[in-house]
Structure formats: structure tokens, C-alpha cells
């Protein structure tokens, strides 16, 4: 089947020119997408195999033998919300020191050498609700890789020198966190929307210094146990061999009772405001945000449609059309909706525009939001937002590792069993009334946080039009 540039190809070229002469006279190609008809797409949500290992670990498996690679993701069902609120940065210090601090059997240097020599990728991260480690390696290295992986989960070293290095790297990141206007704006927005909560805290030099190696060791001791561990594996492995290797690798790791972490404390009664950070730059970053919802909200599907129409649908969204395409006021104009797993996520609209156009852009965003609150969206918009999300659903499944990890997360957060298989139906049931109802719930002008980072000279005096208290702050949020 392989046709190269060689003699064969000369033949092919010749054949094609003949065919083409024929085409131009006999067949007429469709001129408009409406003239096309398509075969229905055959797609079923792929099955993921679940296995409960003797050790207590929940295993998710999907074989894929196309390339000689294997990916593993281990998830401990506890995360940063366990940390004390004055220790912001605990998450990155834990993940970093766990990843780089060696194990009881391996010094950090030996472990790194082994990983790099195998050309493996190893990464750790801690989110609010869970802690995760990922390993990608060649199929031939599975045994060696698993031994490192299990070692890191059971007996991490958190070597003192690795911990100190992670600390100074984290502190340097704090020093640099004001270098880009976008990161200043996002930080201020989270702080305003999650006051006095871990989700709103950003690390400081001091908060990072206040975390100790013992804090990390304690977290590991308290939460790392096979009964609090899920594992997703995809790639080129033999199922039986893999399970045997896993049982062996985690053998003797004792189960233990793991404390629940409280997720309370979000203030849902928000007080809106405008914060302005002055920077000597030619463009202002604009964020307008509020709290979104959680996955348990009955209108989460309507909210997804709303977000698409507001700014989540790229060129098909109102923000992109009005701010960029019609007026040339910005390169990017977008919104995003985080459907929180346990606590409400953010619902944010944002853009960047030259300083002289900030008032105009804020006016447009306000106008678009007002219209979404006051009028039902048009049939065409509703249709497009729904079709787009329904027909692109299949792209959630084009990577075998993403499939297993997704299933692991859905189970962990107790999504209903039919969540995936029903997703498209739920979207298709959304009506214009649903969208308007959720728009009124999620867009509340008096509770909005508006963050502006740029040279405010051209617009500061006009911000009182927003009918929200306006204050100038430093990039760190101080008045």
C-alpha cells in the first residue's frame, strides 16, 4: 500500500491526470455544505475495565498496542484542602518534593538517573481534592518502572535537600508571579471569590517557608494507603502480567482508615468590586467573574450551553463576535465555566484590549451579559451550542489514557453511572428558558469581581459606571 516517490509514483501521477480529465467533465462536486449528506457516526462510549486488587487498590485498565508505550496514573483520594489555610503552597511543595525526593530504597540522584536513562516521564501534582502521580514509559521497562512507582507511593523519601530545593524554586515563582498581567489578574480574581479559603490563597515567601518536611511526611502517613488509591493504566501491556506485577509491587502495604477532609467554607454571598492594578504596559487584562456551580447542580448542562454562547464557543460566542470580529478590540475574548467537583468553580469572562478601549469593552461584556439575563437566546444560537457539544463528544475518547483517567475520576467523585452515556441527551434537552434561568442565577452584577491590570490612566475615572466599589491595589492585592 505504501507509495513512495520512486518509479511507482510516476505511474500514479500519470493515472491521476487521466482520472482528472475525466472528473472535470463528468462529475460535479457539491458546492455547499448543505448539499452534503453524511453517514451516521457509529460511536459508543468505550468500556473501561475495573479490577479490585487484593491490596485494596481500584484499578482501571485499557490496552492499546499501537505503540510500545505504557502510561500510569495513580490517584490518592485526598488533596490540598487538608492543608492549613496559612500554608498556601503546600500543594506544590508536596508534589515537587514527592516527585524529586527519592524513596527509602533510592536516593534522589539514583532515582532521577534511572528515570532519565529509561527516557520515562514522571510528574506529580496535588489538586484540592486528590493527589496524582503520572508515569509514561516504554513497554519494555514496565517492571522497572512499576518498582519505582510503587516505591514512591509506599515509601517516598522527601529528602531534605530536595525539599529545600523545591522551597527555593517555589519562592522564586512567587517573586515572578507579577511578571505577566494575566497571572496577576487570575490570582486577584481567585482571592476575591474565595475569601478566607484555601482555594483563594496564593503562596507567599513566608507561607512557603512555613511548610516543613514533617508536614509532607504527615500528609503521606495520613492519606497514602492502598484503600485510598486508584490506578489507571493504558497502553501496550499484557493484562495478566500487569495485574500480577501490581499485586507483587504493592504486596504488604497495609490498609488504614483515612480521615475525611472538610470541603466547607465557601462564602456564597459575594460582595462585588473592581480592583485595578496599574502597570506601564500598552494593554489591559480584563477579567469579570463570579462563582459558578458544582456538578450536582441540576442546571449544569444549561450552564455549559450558556457559557458556550457567552464566550466559551470561540468564534461562535457573542463575546468573540462582538469584541474581536466586529470591532477589532481584542485578539482573545472568552469565557470559561468550571463545573466544580465538590465546591463551586469559577465562571469568568475575559479579554485583553488596549488601555484606551477598556471602558468600551467592559460596556460590551455588560451588554452581552444583560441580554443573556433578559432575553431567551435565539434558536440558531441554542442549536449551534448544543450541536457543537454533542457532535464533538467523541473527542473525549480519542486517547486511551484520557479514557481510563476520566473513568477513574468519575467514579471517585460519584458521578452517576450513566453520566457519560447520557451526556449528549442532557445537552440536547436544554431549552432557551433553561439558559435564561441559569444566566440569571450565575450572572449577578452586584456580586461580580472585575479585575483590570494595565495602564489605567485613560479609564480609571470612568469605572464608577460599573456601580461597584473601585479600588486601586498592588499586584499582591494590597490597597
Amino acid at each position: 500500500m505504501h507509495l513512495s516517490l520512486n518509479p511507482l509514483n510516476v505511474f500514479l501521477t500519470f493515472v491521476i491526470s487521466v482520472i482528472c480529465c475525466a472528473c472535470t467533465t463528468t462529475t460535479q462536486q457539491p458546492a455547499h455544505p448543505n448539499d452534503l449528506s453524511f453517514q451516521p457516526l457509529v460511536f459508543h462510549v468505550p468500556e473501561v475495565e475495573r479490577v479490585n486488587l487484593d491490596s485494596g487498590i481500584s484499578l482501571y485498565l485499557r490496552e492499546d498496542n499501537e505503540l510500545p508505550l505504557i502510561q500510569l496514573t495513580a490517584m490518592i483520594g485526598s488533596g490540598a484542602l487538608a492543608a492549613s489555610i496559612d500554608k498556601a503552597g503546600f500543594d506544590e511543595l508536596f508534589a515537587g518534593s514527592w516527585r524529586t525526593g527519592g524513596t527509602r530504597q533510592r536516593t534522589p540522584a539514583d532515582l532521577e538517573k534511572q528515570i532519565d536513562f529509561l527516557a520515562a516521564n514522571l510528574g506529580a501534582q496535588m489538586g484540592p481534592y486528590f493527589t496524582q502521580i503520572d508515569l509514561s514509559l516504554r513497554a519494555q521497562d514496565l517492571r522497572e518502572g512499576l518498582s519505582i512507582f510503587a516505591d514512591l507511593l509506599k515509601d517516598p523519601g522527601f529528602a531534605q535537600e530536595s525539599f529545600e530545593l523545591e522551597q527555593i524554586k517555589a519562592q522564586e515563582r512567587v517573586r515572578r508571579q507579577n511578571d505577566n498581567p494575566g497571572s496577576v489578574a487570575r490570582r486577584l480574581l481567585s482571592a476575591a471569590l474565595y475569601p478566607h479559603h484555601y482555594l483563594g490563597q496564593s503562596p507567599t515567601i513566608q507561607s512557603i517557608a512555613s511548610v516543613t518536611r514533617d508536614d509532607l511526611i504527615n500528609f503521606h502517613r495520613t492519606f497514602f494507603a492502598p484503600n485510598n488509591l486508584s490506578l489507571a493504566v493504558s497502553g501496550d501491556f499484557d493484562r495478566k502480567e500487569l495485574i500480577a506485577l501490581l499485586e507483587q509491587a504493592f504486596e504488604g502495604w497495609p490498609k488504614q482508615t483515612v480521615p475525611n477532609i472538610s470541603v466547607d467554607g465557601i462564602i456564597t454571598e459575594q460582595v462585588g468590586g473592581v480592583q485595578v492594578v496599574d502597570r506601564p504596559i500598552p494593554q489591559t487584562t480584563v477579567l469579570v467573574g463570579g462563582l459558578g456551580l458544582t456538578k450536582d447542580h441540576p442546571d449544569q448542562y444549561a450552564a455549559r450551553v450558556l457559557n458556550y454562547i457567552l464566550g466559551g464557543g470561540s468564534f461562535n460566542s457573542r463575546m468573540m463576535k462582538e469584541i474581536r470580529s466586529n470591532r477589532g478590540l481584542a485578539y482573545s475574548a472568552y469565557s470559561f465555566l468550571q463545573v466544580g467537583r465538590r465546591l463551586p468553580g469559577l465562571f469568568v469572562a475575559g479579554t485583553e484590549t488596549q488601555n484606551g478601549k477598556v471602558v468600551e469593552v467592559l460596556g460590551l461584556i455588560h451588554e452581552i451579559m444583560t441580554s443573556l439575563r433578559e432575553n431567551p437566546v435565539s434558536d440558531a444560537e441554542l442549536q449551534l451550542a448544543k450541536e457543537s457539544q454533542i457532535n464533538s463528544f467523541v473527542f473525549g475518547f480519542d486517547d486511551s489514557h484520557a479514557i481510563v483517567v476520566q473513568q477513574m475520576h468519575l467514579d471517585f467523585f460519584n458521578y452517576p453511572d450513566d453520566y457519560l452515556s447520557n451526556y449528549r441527551n442532557r445537552i440536547s434537552e436544554v431549552t432557551a428558558q433553561d439558559v435564561q434561568r441559569i444566566a440569571n442565577e450565575l450572572i449577578r452584577f452586584q456580586e461580580q469581581q472585575v479585575i483590570l491590570v494595565g495602564d489605567s490612566a485613560p479609564y480609571f475615572e470612568q469605572l464608577n459606571r460599573l456601580n461597584l466599589p473601585v479600588k486601586r491595589v498592588t499586584p499582591d492585592g494590597l490597597e
Binding site: 505504501h2 500514479l12 482528472c20 532519565d116 536513562f117 470561540s314 468573540m320 473527542f395 498592588t474
Partner: protein, 505 residues
């Protein structure tokens, strides 16, 4: 030519990426078996990889023309054209092209008259004002013919994702992933776009690009230092100019120049297509033939005549920006298929990739003068390019201290042969990372089109492992001695200046 992932990440919407090709693809045999390749009579090339597991397909169209092919009069036009090609055709994006056409011509007449007057200091400001008002009225009137962002809409309602394009120094790529039952839609839209594009809403889009420029280069210390580095490292070669153009370039590009660039270069002879996913090669061949087969071949993109002279003195620049210090150092080097390009792939691994690399071990872990040191090849690969080292100094260490520490690592590379084990580690990494790039339909489509367009044969990827195996420790030492010399380098330091020390408050 490893591609740093942070540069990958920067393509959102129609962003520019400095195109650095990935060191890609291993499993030479299996790749060669997987790719089915066709060449049509009009010069168009198609590569197909059939992966039936999930009913989706990624479609990449790469035109072998980029900003390097612009002249000093048309800097920025490759990227502007890429934006304009999202505005529809004579069929799509209009309610009635025949009635729209005269209005578009009027808009162009008034718009280019305004551009002409603005450049002349003697122009009457009132005349410009009046014409600008007239332009606004015409643009408002034009709205009744425009079906907004129509490609985006059609692809989205059919389930398309990742609809985008990017302009590089060397080439321009248009991409979309679709459910595989919708492949014909892609063929129809893209062949229409190649033949019948209408460059509507031009003057608004110039403003969009100026905002893009502010966002990517003028409010971002990383963008600023990169742009400054290129503008200084090259004296003659167009690799020196930003893909997006300078402000005055963008503001003065004309519709006529943009149209000429389109007509000159967007043709089958300069185009390669990759379809990767749930698609049968024979069917793909027929489909592409049906829609693209009868398009006239066009003329090949000419080679760039400018030849960068040998640098004979170190260049040093300090840029001021309200941010913590950063350092960027560039050395001129040859490009593929020169042997030293492969040598630099290994040097990059040995110095800068992973926690056991020399920079990380010595500068980050031991000396603790930096928190990260990275390296990459830039800004393109069609012509001789640069080996760039970026460093993030750690407070209170200065960029100078970090710079000196980097140089002592480069000196070691000149004086001591790299150990066998270190070389083997670097080769393992290059070969395995290639496999990882192959995993996704997008990654594979991107690499096939890039190498086919750039080197003229995607099999560069297949032969890569063999070439890498041949490189010895002596080759590395020789290259280090030849290229890591002070007169071959450009050093840019970004620091806070006296005037922008603190934000105004």
C-alpha cells in the same frame, strides 16, 4: 530539534508559534508502514495514516510559505493572510457575493486612501477624519452581507474541534479534527478556501492583530526577550523579523499585498496534506482528488536569497521591562539536514533536558543560581538557525552570574568527551519522545506535514534514529568548539529599568 512544550502550548486561536520542529518519530519501520503517500498531477501531496480505533480524524493542510518569504514591504503579511482566510469565500460567509462585491471594492478604495494619507505628514487631518467616517459607514453597511465566522460555525455544528491555524517563519498550517463521518465537509470547505477566498473585514482584522501583538510581545517579558533576541541575532536574514510584524508593518499592510501573497503561494504545488485517524487511504485519495485535483498547480515559493553573514562579534542587549530578570543566549548554527543539526539535538539533551541534565544538575541543584535553564532551536528550520538557552536567575543571583555558569558548562563540552552512558541516555530520550509525539492524531499529522514541507520528505523522521546513532562524543566536542564561541553569540538580558521600576499608583 526538540520542541519545548511551552512553545507548543502557545497556539490558541490563530497564534504564531516560532516553528521549531520536534525531534520526532522512532519505530522507523512501523511508521514507514503506516504512512500511505500520494502525489497528484498538480503537485499536491497527501499523506494518510489509518487509525480506526476512534471515529475521528485530524486534517492538516500545510502551505510551504511563511513570514520568511515576506519582503521588507510586506512584513506580517503571511500571518495577516492566515487571519483573513477565516473570513469565508464567494460561496460561504456571504448572503450574496455578487451584491457584496462592489461594496468590498469601495471599502478597499477608501481604506487604502486613508492608509496613503496617514503616511504623508502634509495630509489634511480633516480629510482623513472624513474618510474614516466614510469607511465606518461602509463597514456598517457591509454587515448585511456577512455571515459571521462561517467556517467556524459549520465545523462546530458538525462536531469539529481544534479548528485553528498557525503561521511560522517557514510555513503556515490550517488544522481541524472532525468526527470521521464528516471528512467530506473538510474537503469541501478547504478546497473552496484555497480557490475562492474573499478577504472581507480586512481593516478590523488589522486591529485584532495589533492587539495580538500587544498581548504576545509587549505585555509579556518572555515575548519581549524572544523578539529582541531574534532582531539582534540576525542582521540580514528575514528570520530577524517577528512573524506578526512590527506595529507600523501591520497598520500599513494593504489588501492588495495580502491578496497577492495568497494568489502567489496558496496553490497545490506548495501544499501538503495529512489525514490521520479513522480514514481509509484509498477513500481519502479519491476525496482529495475530487475536491483538490483540478486546482491549477501554481508556482513554487522561491527560496530566500538573503544569506546571514558570519557573525564576527558578540552582540549584547539589555531590555527593560517591569519583571524579574531573565536571560537569553543564542548561537548561530546550521539547519537540517546538516549533520551538526543532529549533533545539536544531542547537545540540547545533554545540557538542558531533564533533571539529570548538566544545566539542571549544576546551575539549579548545586550552585542554585537559577531555577530553570532551558534550550531550544529557533526560529525556523528552513534556513540556518539558532541554538537558544534561556535561564531564570534565582534571587539574589544576577543574570551575569548565571551567564558565566552557563559558559563554564559549554567549556566543559569543548574539553571533555561526553561519557558513553550520557550519550546513550540522550539517544534513548530523543527516540522515545518521538514515539510519544506519534501517539496523537494531531501530533503525527503535524510532524508529517512539517517535515514534508520543510525537508521535502517526511522520511526524515524515519531516518532520524539512524542519524542520531552515528553521532559520536568527538562530534559533540567539535561542534561545541566550533559554535560555542563568543563572537557567534547574542546575549539578551531583561531587567527592570530605572523608569519602570514600579507600577504607577
Amino acid at each position: 530539534m526538540s520542541l519545548p512544550s511551552k512553545l507548543f502550548r502557545c497556539f490558541v486561536f490563530f497564534t504564531l508559534i516560532p516553528l521549531l520542529l520536534c525531534s520526532a518519530l522512532a519505530e522507523a519501520v512501523s511508521l514507514e508502514e503506516k504512512v500511505v503517500e500520494f502525489e497528484y498531477a498538480n503537485g499536491l501531496r497527501l499523506m494518510v495514516v489509518d487509525r480506526p480505533e476512534t471515529p475521528v480524524v485530524s486534517a492538516y493542510i500545510t502551505i510551504g510559505v511563511g513570514s520568511v518569504h515576506e519582503t521588507s514591504e510586506t512584513r506580517g503579511v503571511a500571518h495577516l493572510l492566515e487571519h483573513m482566510l477565516f473570513k469565508g469565500t464567494k460561496v460561504l460567509g456571504t448572503t450574496d457575493y455578487a451584491s457584496e462585491k462592489p461594496l468590498l471594492e469601495q471599502i478597499e478604495t477608501v481604506g487604502s486612501e486613508i492608509d496613503r494619507l496617514r503616511l504623508n505628514p502634509q495630509s489634511d487631518p480633516e480629510q482623513i477624519m472624513a474618510l474614516s467616517k466614510k469607511l465606518q459607514e461602509l463597514q456598517a453597511d457591509h454587515k448585511r452581507f456577512v455571515v459571521k465566522d462561517v467556517f467556524s460555525k459549520i465545523y462546530a455544528e458538525n462536531g469539529g474541534v481544534g479548528y485553528n491555524a498557525f503561521t511560522g517563519k517557514d510555513l503556515t498550517t490550517y488544522l481541524i479534527s472532525l468526527p470521521s463521518n464528516k471528512l467530506e465537509l473538510w474537503a469541501l470547505i478547504e478546497s473552496d478556501r484555497m480557490q475562492n477566498a474573499v478577504l472581507r473585514e480586512f481593516y478590523t482584522e488589522r486591529d485584532v492583530i495589533r492587539e495580538e501583538r500587544r498581548r504576545s510581545y509587549e505585555t509579556s517579558p518572555g515575548g519581549l526577550i524572544y523578539e529582541t533576541l531574534l532582531a539582534n541575532a540576525f542582521t540580514v536574514h528575514p528570520y530577524r523579523d517577528p512573524i506578526i510584524g512590527w506595529h507600523s508593518d501591520i497598520a500599513n499592510l494593504s489588501l492588495a499585498e495580502t491578496r497577492t501573497f495568497l494568489e502567489d503561494y496558496y496553490a497545490p504545488i506548495n501544499t501538503v496534506i495529512a489525514l490521520v485517524g479513522d480514514v481509509r487511504p484509498a477513500k481519502a485519495f479519491d476525496l482529495v482528488n475530487q475536491y483538490f485535483g483540478s486546482i491549477p498547480p501554481g508556482t513554487p515559493v522561491p527560496n530566500v536569497a538573503a544569506n546571514e553573514p558570519v557573525q564576527n562579534a558578540e552582540k549584547r542587549v539589555t531590555v527593560f521591562f517591569d519583571a524579574e530578570p531573565q536571560l537569553s543566549i543564542a548561537f548561530h548554527k546550521p539547519t537540517l539536514p546538516h549533520k551538526d543539526d543532529y549533533v545539536f539535538d544531542l547537545i540540547d539533551q545533554i545540557l538542558a533536558q531533564g533533571r539529570t541534565s548538566r544545566f539542571y544538575q549544576n546551575l539549579v541543584e548545586d550552585l542554585k543560581v537559577a531555577t530553570s535553564v532551558s534550550a531550544y532551536m529557533a526560529p525556523g528550520s528552513r534556513y540556518p538557525n539558532l541554538f537558544v538557552i534561556n535561564a531564570v536567575p534565582r534571587y539574589p543571583h544576577s543574570a551575569e552570574e548565571v551567564e558565566q555558569a552557563i559558559y563554564s558548562e559549554l567549556e566543559k563540552l569543548k574539553d571533555e568527551p561526553v561519557a558513553d552512558e550520557e550519550l546513550l541516555k540522550a539517544r534513548n530520550r530523543l527516540v522515545t519522545d518521538q514515539l510519544r509525539y506519534l501517539k496523537s492524531n494531531n501530533g503525527l499529522a503535524r510532524m508529517l506535514t512539517s517535515y514534508q514541507s520543510m525537508v521535502g520528505d517526511w522520511r526524515y523522521l524515519v531516518n532520524y534514529q539512524n542519524e542520531i546513532e552515528k553521532i559520536t562524543a568527538d562530534d559533540i566536542m567539535a561542534a561545541a568548539r566550533a559554535y560555542f564561541v563568543s563572537k557567534n553569540r547574542t546575549v539578551v538580558t531583561l531587567i527592570r529599568g530605572e523608569n519602570n521600576n514600579a507600577p504607577k499608583s
